[in-house]
Amino acid sequence: MLEVRKLACSRGDHRLFSELSFTLDSGQIMQVQGANGSGKTSLLRSLCGFLMPDEGEIIWRGENIRELDEEYYAEMMYLGHLNAIKDELSGLENLRISAGLSGVELTEKEAMDALRRMGLKGREMLPTKVLSQGQRRRVALARMLVNDAKLWILDEPLAALDVGAVALIQQLIAEHLARQGMVIFTTHQPLIVDGIDVLNLNLS
């Protein structure tokens, strides 16, 4: 499904990685490992099409993502370091807007249910600026519940989360894989998905 061929990427004059090839199929999960600055985020951003790789190509269902463009974006979800939530808006508004941008229109009830499952019951209507860092992250991660993307690209999904939330994210990832979804992620914390082998990609 997702195939990376001889990818090379550099930031400034510094070559981060080269000759990187891998494939990811339905129901598979891959963890990108490496020291700080080894190019994990750059790899994920290349997979999103933000960064133009120096060499190589990224193939989705047999076609280059540059050519697929919107067709590819309809099938993927990216959660990066930045939460993409607005301080002035409530959790509910934020979730409905971010889901809307990814092409899914949510009713108020669907959004409420997703936020409650993320452990934000009673805080759905508060402006997100009064929430803690971890709660804001939960608002951002609520998108995992309300999308039908096939490929999830998660950059440090567990940052700022407590133990309960980490368990929930692991469960969501397991459900997604059971639906034949695909996940590629980075993390510095252990992320264990029961009964599924996590493929490893080491950039260092």
């Binding site: 919107e70 990216y78 930045l82 993409a84 607005k86 002035e88 990814s102 899914v104």
Partner: protein, 227 residues
């Protein structure tokens, strides 16, 4: 869960930006007050000679509109860029140009349209005649959206740069000169009893051209800025 259409996405962006503007009213008001201040300073500075004020009114109003729209352009994409929303917009399953068009429209409603509403009141300070005011407003209605649209290209190109605000003005202001010339020219024409259709048709043509090309150009500029 329902799939959103291209038009639905456009309206979503417009609505979102308008809600955000309403929650950050200070930003909107500063632009408008700046416009009122600059325009009001001229009669104080050059003295109360009616004939001269009447002659310079359209130019002063338009230059003030240009400058105040520069003030708000810096914020057009920067907040979304900093909090990651812009990344998500690029990953939207619809064309980025559509989303950009939505942001342009919201920007005009928030920072262009209030200027149009304010202009007749300010025009009275300059003793403008009724028909001159009408033409001025038509010119502003056609011209201020062009400022939002052309300005968006500059805002996208200077995204994430330090001191981007000044660079933005240097990039965008020269591109707005034709709008300035024909919009003020129309008011001059009507006061001297000439036909205004040529001026307004040209403004209309600029508007249509901007509507067709600027969203696409801005989307490309945003992709470059994100790398």
């Amino acid at each position: 869960m329902k799939k959103s259409t291209m038009f639905g996405l456009l309206m979503l962006v417009v609505r979102r930006d308008l809600i955000l503007a309403m929650r950050r009213r200070a930003d909107v008001l500063t632009t408008l007050i700046f416009f009122v201040m600059v325009v009001s300073l001229f009669p104080l500075g050059v003295g109360p000679e009616m004939a001269m004020l009447r002659k310079m009114a359209p130019g002063v109003l338009w230059v003030a509109a240009l400058l105040s729209s520069m003030l708000s352009l810096g914020r057009l994409f920067s907040a979304d860029y900093l909090d990651g929303t812009l990344e998500q917009m690029m990953l939207a399953p619809q064309s980025l140009s559509m989303l950009v068009l939505g942001k342009m429209a919201a920007h005009w409603v928030v920072s262009g349209f209030p200027l149009v509403l304010m202009a007749p009141v300010l025009g009275l300070q300059f003793d403008m005649t009724g028909e001159a005011l009408v033409v001025l407003i038509i010119g502003l209605l056609l011209g201020t959206p062009i400022l939002s649209m052309v300005g968006a290209i500059g805002a996208a190109l200077t995204l994430g740069l330090r001191g981007g605000g000044v660079l933005l003005s240097l990039l965008v202001l020269p591109l707005c000169i034709p709008v300035l010339i024909f919009a003020t020219g129309a008011v001059d024409a009507v006061t001297s009893g000439l036909n205004i259709t040529a001026h307004l048709s040209l403004l209309g043509a600029f508007f249509v051209m901007a509507l067709v090309f600027t969203p696409w150009v801005t989307a490309q500029a945003l992709r470059i800025s994100m790398e």
